[in-house]
């Protein structure tokens, strides 16, 4: 083997030093600390104790929904929108590990690769490594790392969920559930589960047949329903607006407020 390939000299094992690098926004340190946390290395947890909790000002937004509804494509568009607002954006995209081999093919970021050239955007793929609930065990801690590195907007893509993978509601401020037209009976199933935890429901693929019917159906059930066409960037401004509104509620008052479901925002229900 070639000399030098195992050189990890940039990397310090000193938790305080690593925490400082994270707070300076050093991407290698951010990435490495997230790995330490994923690997349950005690240094990772030690780094967290050095990150000041007062920096907890980020928007933390969860994007969840059935497989293939357009979560990653939507995040690609949200990155554009938040970058225009001058925000530094972090993305944690969670995908499933094989229960048999422990391996995974993490492909969410394919749809976001154009942002790789933007140093103010950090994208990290996380495998579930056997953790149930739609997130990886270390996702919550990884959010703290990104907050420590002053990412103002943190977007979490859950695995393509079914009914019972609802952990995201415990780690983010705003839950966005993405559905696609033509769900039929699935909508009934979602009413117990996904739609219950959603602060905002997005009907993506609004260009598809059946979008109007799906919107009508969901609006009877949820207060804030937005139509988007993520592949074309349509409806994103409206989505950003209702997310901001929701986050403002949380800022205004008790932490309980952001848990209130079905927040009514007129702007949103007409957008798209």
């Amino acid at each position: 083997m070639t000399q030098g390939t195992t050189d990890r000299s940039f990397f310090t094992h000193n938790a305080a030093e690593l925490a400082k690098q994270v707070q300076d926004g050093e991407v290698r340190a951010v990435a490495r600390v997230i790995s330490l946390l994923e690997n349950r290395d005690p240094i990772g947890a030690a780094v967290l104790t050095h990150l000041s909790p007062s920096m907890n000002r980020a928007f933390v937004i969860g994007i969840t929904g059935y497989p293939g509804t357009g979560k990653s494509t939507l995040i690609d568009q949200l990155i554009i929108a938040y970058r225009r607002l001058g925000q530094k954006v972090g993305v944690l995209a969670v995908d499933t590990s094989s229960p048999v081999t422990g391996g995974a093919v993490l492909g969410d970021r394919i749809r976001m690769q154009r942002h790789t050239d933007d140093p103010q955007v950090y994208i990290r793929s996380m495998a579930t490594r056997g953790h149930q609930g739609g997130l990886a065990a270390a996702t919550r801690q990884a959010i703290r790392v990104l907050e420590g590195a002053a990412y103002g907007v943190i977007l979490i893509e859950t695995v393509g969920v079914g009914q019972n993978e609802l952990d995201v509601m415990h780690v983010v401020h705003t839950v966005v559930a993405v559905v696609a037209p033509g769900l039929g009976d699935d909508i009934q199933a979602m009413k117990a589960g996904l739609l219950e935890i959603a602060d905002i429901v997005v009907v993506n693929k609004g260009d598809r047949e059946g979008a109007d019917a799906t919107l009508r159906d969901l609006r009877e059930w949820c207060k804030t329903v937005i139509r988007t066409v993520a592949v074309k960037g349509e409806g994103i401004a409206g989505l950003i607006a209702v997310i901001a509104e929701h986050e403002r509620w949380r800022d205004l008052d008790s932490p309980e407020l952001h848990k209130r479901r079905g927040l009514s925002i007129d702007l949103g229900t007409r957008a798209g």
Binding site: A104, V105, L106, T116, R124
Partner: protein, 135 residues
Amino acid sequence: MTVAATPLRILIGKVGLDGHDRGVKLVARALRDAGVEIIYTGLHQSPEQIVTTAIQEDVQAIGLSIHSGAHNSLFPRVLGLLREQGAGDIVLFGGGIIPDEDVPRLKAAGVQMLFRPATPMHDIVEFVNGLRTER
């Protein structure tokens, strides 16, 4: 920390202009089946995108498929960028249609392994598994 408990993370992607991704997808799947976490970037990546992605994802290695004939510029470019970013520890390997006479030069430049198009999947898996003990 035991190495075995920690899956390898490997970036698999395609740089350059050619649009064939069947081969890399098969490699990605075979490595997943060997317990590796694959970060798949898709097609048409620039060397800059590859290196930034590798750093953001904290991978141990990058596997690139190049069928466009531009291997003599693309591989060294990736290696150069890795070193510039202080990430020279990330292993680079590759595959594609690469003439025999180019192989020694690329290896000397720092490409750790080059696989021919018809390489048995087993050999690639074995090579990647070998990276585990290196860390």
